[in-house]
């Protein structure tokens, strides 16, 4: 039984990175495909299309930071907290990156023929990013209360 808890604890530590990476893969792939498609239709402004498509990559960075904040000796006492914080934070990062990819794709489609709305069209993606930041910050705050954080 202890081994199961230890395993869950390690899953909690690595979870934010793994799930954040999956989300970033999905989000960047979606937005990247849209950027490639838009390049067929426009004659300039390729750089900002690619830049927008890279927005969902921030979730993997948050995941790595949370992983470092959770990284400690995995004990039975700490495992439950590590699992809960790590997996829940990772899940938020996954969904936020995946859906941010949709927002970025829509922004790319909307702004390709109306460059003047580029900033405004990216606002929904920024709002989605905001929710990921909330989950990230409070994961850091909560992780301080998990046993073993002082090591």
């Amino acid at each position: 039984m202890d081994n199961l808890w230890i395993m869950l604890g390690w899953a909690g530590i690595y979870g934010p990175t793994a799930l954040g990476a999956i989300g970033s893969v999905i989000g960047c792939a979606r937005a990247g495909q849209a950027a490639c498609g838009a390049m067929l239709d426009v004659d300039s402004g390729y750089g900002r299309l690619v830049g927008l498509s890279a927005l969902p990559s921030s979730q993997i960075i948050y995941g790595i930071v949370v992983m470092f904040s959770l990284n400690r000796e995995v004990t039975v006492e700490a495992a439950g907290g590590l699992f809960a914080v790590g997996i829940l934070c990772g899940t938020v990062l996954l969904f936020s990156a995946a859906f941010q990819g949709l927002c970025c794709s829509s922004a790319i489609v909307a702004s390709k023929s109306k460059p003047e709305i580029f900033g405004l069209s990216a606002a929904p993606a920024a709002i989605v990013e905001g929710f990921a930041v909330f989950a990230f910050i409070f994961a850091l705050v909560v992780s301080a209360g998990i046993p073993g954080s002082g090591q």
Partner: protein, 218 residues
């Protein structure tokens, strides 16, 4: 379900209204972009394209042939395509019935889901469809007045609005592609009409300028 981020993003935005001077994308370019569809979706899209071609069917096609064609198309296993086909069939049935009545015909073509309703309400100016389909009344009055240009515009405007409204429900899916192509077909039809108008005007100007010499063969 497969998503088409690249394909949708590569298609130029469609105008708000269909009565534009220039097509946003040529038929050839659109065809090339549609190569990005998966083989299954491409086959479905081709079936829809055949429907649009069938919409401009030869005049010598009989009602039975027409009914067989409709039955074949209605076997397509895609809810949106069936919805588009049925909607277009409704429009075609009503237009056909209005034209037949104007020409002194006795009843509607017995094809499609509306035929029976129209037959029952043959003497009503809008076949009692005016409340559900407001365009019928306007189209009918344009047709009676011989204003075919406005009649066509009313018809295409109604279809354009219907597809635009439906398109807001889909973003990067196959349905979004279908609705794009459906709306592009409306643009193409209107644009083709303008081209033929231009051709006619050009011919009449040549006749006016050259008189009898315009008929000379070399």
């Amino acid at each position: 379900m497969h998503k088409y981020f690249t394909l949708i993003a590569s298609l130029p935005n469609l105008p708000r209204h269909f009565d534009v001077e220039h097509l946003p994308i040529t038929r050839q370019s659109l065809k090339e972009r549609l190569e990005m569809l998966t083989p299954e979706d491409r086959a479905l899209q081709k079936q829809l394209a055949e429907f649009f071609d069938w919409d401009r069917q030869p005049l010598d096609r009989s009602d039975n042939e027409f009914a067989r064609e409709l039955a074949r198309i209605e076997t397509i296993e895609h809810s949106l395509i069936r919805r588009i086909v049925r909607s277009r069939m409704e429009v075609r049935t009503i237009v056909s019935a209005l034209r037949r009545r104007l020409a002194g015909g006795t009843g509607p073509v017995p094809v499609g889901s509306l035929a029976e309703h129209i037959a029952r309400n043959w003497d009503d100016p809008t076949f009692k469809l005016g409340s559900r389909l407001p365009w019928v009344e306007r189209f009918s009055s344009c047709l009676i007045a011989g204003d075919t240009m406005n009649a066509e515009q009313t018809l295409l405007g109604h279809t354009w609005q219907a597809w635009c409204t439906l398109a807001t429900e889909f973003t990067f899916s196959f349905e979004a592609v279908i609705l794009y192509v459906a709306r592009w077909e409306i643009l193409y039809r209107w644009h083709s009409r303008n081209v033929s108008n231009g051709q006619q005007r050009f011919d009449s100007m040549i006749e006016e300028t050259l008189g009898g010499h315009a008929e000379l063969q070399f």
